[in-house]
Symmetry: C2
Subunit: 253 residues, 2 copies
């Protein structure tokens, strides 16, 4: 599905930026790069700057298409969205990258092409170019310094589209969190095991005279809250109880 | 709130990457940069590479703190999250950037510091360094080419935290979409005005013999669907009716 996403760079001056953009694209699984009137880039004779910044993504540079007009770059696209830093006199459909990515997911899975367009390093897209986009994308940057590098902007846009695509395919790799999910390496301890641990812990704390059973205050509830929050697995509980056992044994000697 | 977010770079080789990271941070309103054992960076004697890549963010470079251990870099932080490309032998709390950003929002508004940590250009963070992070952050990159540039990764992380912060403060600037929202420059046309337009349109299409009233097919429903979807404003409807008026007048001559 991401094969239907195209990045279009218009009037790029620095070949290093074309290289960094290729790298940003490839890390997100996006390969279709079209360059409209780059200042000096030649896919058949890659310069050192572009190669250095592309790192392992020189294949994208070599297969990049260079065209002389924006119209040619987007001829076969169903949707064209252009990055715009400034708010224009004439309001235009305007989306944050996340919404633009979600919008792309209405089009890409049907096999139609979406172009995300980035302008010149200093001046961005012209008003005429922006008028050829159905949607303007605004990265909600720091209003006092909104100057994202063109490859950095490409990285954000490609990342959002990849996230949306993985979400669409329900293919986001699992995160581990609170309960560590299904990918954790050991089974979680049962509450019976946890209670066994807490009894062991309390007994130990009394034994070492850290906990006064006649004036326990909030010590055990606080320790329960701590360890329960961590949701230990069976191995971890065994380790903790091993420690308690040693503490008790040493204390009794 | 973003003043409590710190970016920590460990063992960075290329000063250009430190410059790009400073720029990425500043575009997202994040200013606290700490460098652990950079190969050759000196905030009191900035080199050309760093300055060129930082663009207008040299102030961040000059105020960057250089320390010799990771411990020093995170001493005053409540939460430390490290970027990790690989899955480790020992599973660890692992989050995508979006979840990590949401998690940061549980901490930053209370005035406590969160550090996002990025490792060396080639080798990332060591296992020992990752063990000092409560959470590992995984950018769900292309498994065949997951090599994000360190500043590109910083851009993605800073962007996600900024999005989460704006969302938290309900300060995301409005998007315009379907109904263009409240920020559109003109009032939307009423349905009475739209119906007036559709009658005018139909009359015109009959007049120019494009629409056969005895065999209208789906022409008007399709045109209705098109124009209703665009939700024109009053000025746009006036323009459209101005066009129809001219077409009718010319056709009657």
């Amino acid at each position: 599905m991401l094969e239907n996403l195209r990045i279009v760079l218009i009037g790029t001056s620095h070949n290093g930026n074309i290289g960094s953009t290729a790298r940003a694209m490839k890390t997100m699984g996006i390969n279709d790069l079209v360059l409209v009137e780059p200042k000096s880039f030649d896919p058949n004779n890659l310069c050192d700057d572009a190669i250095a910044m592309a790192s392992g993504a020189t294949d994208l540079l070599a297969s990049a298409k260079v065209v002389s007009t924006f119209e040619q770059a987007i001829e076969d696209c169903a949707v064209v969205m252009g990055a715009s830093a400034r708010s224009r006199h004439l309001p235009w459909p305007l989306m944050h990258p996340r919404k633009a990515a979600a919008k792309s997911m209405e089009v890409l899975p049907r096999g139609q092409k979406v172009a995300l367009v980035l302008g010149r390093e200093r001046t961005g897209l012209t008003n005429d170019e922006l008028a050829m986009c159905q949607v303007h994308i605004h990265i909600p940057a720091n209003p006092d310094y909104a100057s994202l590098n063109v490859a950095a902007a490409a990285q954000v846009l490609c990342y959002e589209v990849r996230m949306a695509a993985l979400d669409h395919q329900q293919a986001l790799e699992p995160e581990y969190e609170g309960d560590w999910g299904v990918s954790w390496d050991n089974e979680l301890a049962t509450q019976g095991e946890m209670n066994g641990f807490f009894q062991h812990l309390e007994e130990t704390l009394v034994d070492i005279q850290f906990l006064d059973p006649n004036n326990p205050k909030q010590l055990m509830p606080r320790l329960r809250r701590l360890f329960q929050r961590a949701m230990p697995d069976k191995v971890e509980v065994n380790i903790l109880r091993g420690i308690l056992k040693m503490v008790l044994r040493n204390n009794k000697q």
